[in-house]
Symmetry: C2
Subunit: 250 residues, 2 copies
């Protein structure tokens, strides 16, 4: 099927990641990308590929994922939002907005800053209110020393120590533009902002910071871990639970 | 049954309000208070009354509700938290902490400041991620004029215009210590802090502020609505959905 690229549509998307095997289409798996592609097909009869800005892992939520796709029919932004949401039905996915953008716009490569946030409930009893949206850690985390450690991650580095072993990126150099940690009583938020991340970089950085908060890794070890380019020196990969793709800036 | 008041226990409690008919015990209704009283009975064999600081309506959540009760047995704070959480089982209620306090402590009357927060999702499509924790309002709310209006509610006033018709408080004078409204993209938070509130005062203040944001009530009308002591001049009672009892300060 020849596709006339008359309209490049940018979507801003919210989803609850728990019922899905992540963003990216995979055979025999229910994914967010494939559900949106099905909704587009039902809406306008196009079999199209929806390119996502962040390929979130299974269980990761999004408040402001972005994606784009091409269709050769003309629709208003209002028609697209309402049409796709109608066809998404009871899926835990909602199109927040649609925008007709220039042809060269690419949701993934045009992104300037992607911001992800971990929510941790740090107390004895797990949360009943936030359980689907937080990671539960029982021992008290020392946020002050985590703060020291997070500052040492900000910057342009070879993040080989902080990527999954099956990460396929050729270049392991990334720039962590901003990162912060905040405690509000028993709730801790850790956020990371960068143009792009290596595969599972956020979950490994979070897992390492948690080890720092538990006094298992020292903040001054962070530069050594970076320099080593050795995945086994960083902390474990934190669970997907509690991670949300907050926003993509272009 | 004579109860020896040897131990006054203060609980900090989190709950998801959706499955319950509010905090307060009512015949033939599943309430948060009655589920906690059942858990205490299973834990230590005491039939006791748990006095809550805020009597939240059906559907209202709590991150930091406080309550107290008396028992004549000695338990550590750790035993109380774990014992009650064990007996609460799959209820959407969790004891966050327990504290043995002096006999005169009363969770309701000793409270200095109670803070409640509304979360509003202000956009075309309802949220799939926040739906249980937010009120969905489609038309765009003007937060700047809501900000003007909220400032006019802060202070000590006769809040008769802002209480439910069946409110039983003898004195309608309350002091709203603080209130604020913040927008972060499509999510709006409105919070209210006071020593105590009239019945449904928060929901009526929120409903009135929403009318302001929709240009149906002007900020400069707020003092007139207060002066009138006439419930029918204020806005509608906002739904319970999206309201959370955030914390109680003593």
């Amino acid at each position: 099927m020849q596709l006339l690229k008359t309209n490049n549509i940018k979507l801003t998307i919210e989803y609850n990641g728990l019922p899905y095997s992540g963003w990216q289409s995979q055979k025999n798996e229910k994914t967010i990308q494939s559900e949106i592609e099905k909704a587009i097909f039902k809406f306008c009869g196009h079999q199209t590929v929806v390119q996502g800005a962040g390929r979130t892992d299974a269980g990761v939520h999004a408040l402001g994922q972005c994606a784009n796709f091409f269709i050769d029919k003309k629709y208003s932004e209002y028609q697209i939002v309402n049409g796709l949401n109608f066809h998404l039905g009871s899926e835990k996915i909602r199109i927040v907005s649609a925008q007709i953008v220039e042809e060269k716009f690419d949701s993934r490569f045009s992104a300037k800053i992607k911001t992800y946030r971990y929510q941790i409930v740090n107390r004895t009893s797990p949360s009943v209110l936030l359980s689907d949206f937080s990671l539960h850690i029982r021992p008290e985390l020392n946020v002050d020393i985590m703060q020291d450690a997070i500052m040492k991650l900000i910057g342009k580095y070879d993040f080989s120590s902080f990527r999954a072993r099956d990460c396929q990126a050729k270049n392991p150099i990334r720039t962590l533009e901003d990162a912060e940690i905040k405690r509000n009583n028993q709730i801790i938020h850790i956020s990371f902002s960068a143009k792009s991340f290596l595969y599972q970089q956020i979950r490994i950085m979070a897992g390492t910071l948690i080890e720092v908060g538990l006094n298992k890794i020292k903040p001054q070890d962070i530069p050594k871990i970076i320099d080593s380019r050795n995945r086994s020196l960083a902390g474990p990969t934190a669970p997907a639970r509690g991670l949300t793709l907050v926003k993509i800036e272009y």
